[in-house]
C-alpha cells in the first residue's frame, strides 16, 4: 500500500512538475502545479503525515485555484500564438540546473540508508500539543505574519486615488514655486 502510494504520488508530482515548467501556456503550468501538489499530498501519507496531507490539499490547492483565476485575468487570449523560448535562456537555465544537481546528487548518494522503521506515525493530538507548547513562538509569529500579509495585500492591490492626488499636488506646487 505504501509503495503504491509512493509510486502514484511520485509519478503525479513529477509529471506535474515537468508540466509546470515546460508548458508554454501559463494556465497549463498552473494546472501542472496543482497536479504536483496533489501528488505530494499523496506522498505525505506513507510518511505518516495524514494531517499534513489534508492541510496541503486544503490550503495549497486553494491558493493555486486563486492563482489560476489571476492567470486567466492576466494572460493574453489562448488563440494568440505564444512567443518562442530563446535558446540562450534555456541553455543558461539548464546550466544552472546542472550546477545545482551535481552537489545534490552527491549529497543523496552519501546519505546513509536507514531501515524502514515501523514506528507509530504521530497523531494529530501530538502535533497539536507540540504546536502549542514547544513551537508556540513560531506559531504566534506565523499568525502575525499572515495578518501582515493580508493587510499588505489589501494595501498593495488597492487602487490608490489619493496617491494620484498627492502626485498631482506635488507637480502643481512645483509649478507654483517656479
Amino acid at each position: 500500500m505504501h509503495d503504491f502510494l509512493f509510486i502514484t504520488g511520485g509519478i503525479l508530482a513529477l509529471a506535474g512538475g515537468l508540466l509546470a515548467v515546460i508548458a508554454r501556456n501559463l494556465f497549463h503550468a498552473a494546472l501542472g502545479l496543482a497536479l504536483t501538489l496533489t501528488g505530494t499530498a499523496g506522498l505525505f501519507i506513507p510518511l505518516g503525515g495524514e494531517l499534513i496531507s489534508v492541510v496541503q490539499i486544503l490550503v495549497y490547492l486553494g491558493a493555486v485555484a486563486i492563482a489560476v483565476i489571476f492567470i486567466l485575468m492576466l494572460s493574453p487570449p489562448f488563440y494568440l500564438k505564444r512567443p518562442h523560448r530563446s535558446g540562450v535562456k534555456i541553455a543558461l537555465a539548464v546550466g544552472t540546473v546542472v550546477i545545482f544537481a551535481i552537489p545534490l546528487w552527491r549529497a543523496i548518494s552519501s546519505t546513509c540508508e536507514v531501515a524502514n522503521r515501523t514506528a507509530q506515525s504521530p497523531t494529530v493530538a501530538q502535533i497539536g500539543r507540540s504546536l502549542l507548547t514547544e513551537f508556540v513562538f513560531p506559531f504566534e509569529i506565523i499568525s502575525v505574519l499572515l495578518t501582515v500579509a493580508i493587510i499588505g495585500a489589501i494595501v498593495l492591490a488597492r487602487d490608490l486615488p489619493e496617491d494620484k492626488d498627492i502626485v498631482h499636488d506635488v507637480s502643481t506646487s512645483r509649478e507654483e514655486s517656479k
Binding site: 505504501h2 515548467v21 501538489l37 510518511l47 503525515g49 534555456i90 539548464v94 492591490a157
Partner: protein, 102 residues
C-alpha cells in the same frame, strides 16, 4: 522500494524543475509557480527526514505546516504585487519592470 533516498531523489528532481523555471520564465506568475515547486520539494524533504531519521517525533511535520503557511502568505503578497505591477506597467514580464534598475 520506499526508502529515504528515493524520497530525496524525488524532491531533488522537483526542486530542479523549480530552479529551471526560475531561470527560464519571464512571467511573474510563472516565477510564483516555480517558487511553489521548490517549497514543495523542501517540505517533502522535511517529511522524509522526520519519518526515517526521527520516527515518532513531530518536528518535521510542524516545519512542513509552517512551510505551507509561509507559502500561503507569500502567494497572497506575490499576487498583490503582480496586480500592482500589471496596473503600473500593463505587463507582468519581469524584463519590462525595470524602474528600480540602478
Amino acid at each position: 522500494m520506499t526508502s529515504l533516498s528515493s524520497y530525496l531523489a524525488l524532491s531533488t528532481i522537483l526542486f530542479l524543475c523549480g530552479a529551471f523555471g526560475m531561470m527560464e520564465r519571464r512571467n511573474l506568475v510563472g516565477l510564483l509557480i516555480s517558487i511553489e515547486l521548490m517549497l514543495n520539494a523542501a517540505s517533502i524533504n522535511f517529511m522524509a527526514f522526520n519519518h526515517y531519521l526521527f520516527p515518532g517525533t513531530v518536528t518535521g511535520q510542524i516545519m512542513t505546516l509552517f512551510v505551507i503557511g509561509l507559502a500561503a502568505a507569500e502567494a497572497t503578497l506575490f499576487l498583490a504585487i503582480v496586480f500592482a505591477v500589471y496596473r503600473h506597467y500593463r505587463s507582468i514580464n519581469v524584463e519590462r519592470v525595470d524602474h528600480l534598475r540602478g
